[in-house]
Amino acid sequence: MTEKKVGSMTVDVDAEGFMTDASQWTEDIAKALAKEEGIELTEDHFKVISFMRKDFAENGTAPSIRRLNKAGGISTKDLYSLFPDGPAKKAAKISGLPKPQGCV
């Protein structure tokens, strides 16, 4: 585990840059992390982020795209336009959550 400077703050991250302690997350950290991914966060982004964080708090894993569709009411199309190239992973990273579990 390593520490990473995000703007003026320091957070714990794993080898791939996913935060390991969701409680260190703030909206400012999200904005800074999003910037690294080339994304300027809007209100629509924060709707996704707040669902993801709530779902993670309840279930202990970062939600999949399908879960974001079904339980979060966010369409896959919207997810791809908000978080291009792998929305589940990218949105989890910006939301301060661990990498969504790969499947076997």
Partner: protein, 409 residues
């Protein structure tokens, strides 16, 4: 009389019926198993049908032949599971109550989940091989196909038997070579995964195989829709792959009854304790095989290893003892690689497939993550083992838990 009810008489459910009938006192317990179809499919065999290696009769037998005396078999669809009332409503009107419930309702393909997949091209130049109907239709199509772009597309993960798509491509490479038309066939794997397989070392090894066999790989492609007019698949981020023949692995989901009963996740898989196989929400419900939401492979070998653990835990639960946390995610898969050879992988929740040797008294050793003829014969012999030993709940000389002997890190 106390009642144990099993839903689903596939690989996992049939094994559990055979195991438990030997251990539960027939004067105390009534065991019932429910399924809607008369036929039991040897699912690993479906892969071989398109290439004319197996035919319909090699992969079907009557379910009844494998349900032991002392277990009631009811043929009906399941209308609803009512876990809070300890009862199950069947479509035929019967209501079954239970003391313990084992859910083994499996997973199935849902081509309807992808826009355009079941359009004009379905079973014309778009096929699947996860159902008997699909595999047989593909066999007919391939018989006279003269070549072109064959795209194998994994729509989304998880899927049943995650090595089957690779095996299909390896066999296709062999089949078209034998037919003398390999030069006219372009083979491409299109997958949402970052590589050829889910686990890094096997992904690399199998990726090398794809290259060696001249099979293209398009990775991180999340299929959004299929355009069967233009013969293209399109990803959510608007990239496209053209095909002449599309072999699709559609979205895999748990049985619709799980959704109707409000017991599953967004793919209708049931939240299950990863080591005990007890349902996360109901103490007297256990889940086995493809129906679970566990991060283990959806495969018959996994169901087999789970069955050993589940037998013990059902008996312990009945006696009021704490459950054993003995299931380690163990999977063991032969991978057919074409030209009469195969690979073997052996892994669990924590240990990815590693190279080395797999010792098996009397027959082995099999080589791990390496091609060999004996691995191919292991795979072909397995059909006999499946019908005659495995689903009858017999013992195989393989431990339920992963063993490191012979493996090289």
């Amino acid at each position: 009389m106390k009642k144990l009810l099993i839903l689903g008489a596939g690989t996992a459910g049939t094994m559990m019926a055979n195991k438990l009938v030997r251990h539960l006192d027939q004067h105390e317990w009534k065991i019932t198993i429910v399924d809607k179809e008369e036929e039991h499919y040897y699912q690993p065999g479906l892969l071989f049908i398109p290439f004319n290696i197996y035919s319909r009769n090699d992969v079907i037998k009557p379910r009844r032949d494998f349900i032991p005396t002392g277990v009631d078999l009811i043929m009906s669809d399941i209308e609803m599971i009512e876990p809070d009332n300890n009862r199950v409503k069947l479509r035929n009107g019967q209501v079954l109550s239970y003391d313990y419930l084992i859910i083994a309702t499996g997973s199935r393909i849902n081509p309807e989940e992808t826009e355009g997949l079941k359009g004009d091209g379905w079973y014309k130049n778009i096929f699947e091989f996860y159902t008997l109907e699909g595999a047989c239709n593909l066999q007919k199509f391939l018989k006279f196909w003269e070549g072109g772009k064959l795209v194998l597309n994994i729509t989304e993960m998880p899927i049943k038997c995650p090595v089957a798509p690779l095996e299909f491509l390896f066999l296709a490479d062999w089949w078209f070579t034998e037919k003398g038309i390999r030069d006219n066939v372009n083979l491409t794997l299109v997958t949402p995964l970052p590589g050829a397989f889910t686990k890094p070392r096997a992904a690399q090894k199998l990726g090398d195989f794809l290259q060696k066999k001249n099979i293209n790989l398009v990775s991180e492609f999340s299929t959004g829709s299929v355009d069967s007019k233009a013969n293209k698949i399109r990803s959510w981020d608007e990239s496209e792959v053209e095909y002449d023949l599309l072999v699709t692995i559609p979205t895999n989901m748990g049985d619709p009854v799980i959704e109707r009963s409000g017991m599953g996740d967004e793919l209708n898989f049931i939240p299950t304790h990863p080591k005990t196989l007890q349902s996360k929400n109901w103490d007297n419900i256990f889940v086995i095989g493809d129906a679970t939401n566990l991060p283990s492979s959806k495969a018959g070998s996994v169901a087999h290893f789970q069955a050993d653990v589940l037998q013990e835990n059902i008996l312990r639960a009945i006696d009021g003892l704490p459950l054993k946390e003995d299931f380690d995610g163990h999977a063991n898969c032969f991978i057919e690689s074409g030209f009469g050879k195969g690979l073997l992988i052996d892994f669990n929740y924590d240990v990815e497939p590693l190279p080395g040797k797999y010792p098996l008294p009397g027959i082995g050793p099999f080589s791990l993550l390496e091609e060999s003829r004996i691995n191919h014969w292991g795979k072909m012999m397995f059909r006999w083992v499946y019908w005659n030993v495995l689903i009858k709940g017999g013992e195989l000389p393989i431990e339920a838990q992963l063993n490191m002997a012979g493996k090289i890190r």
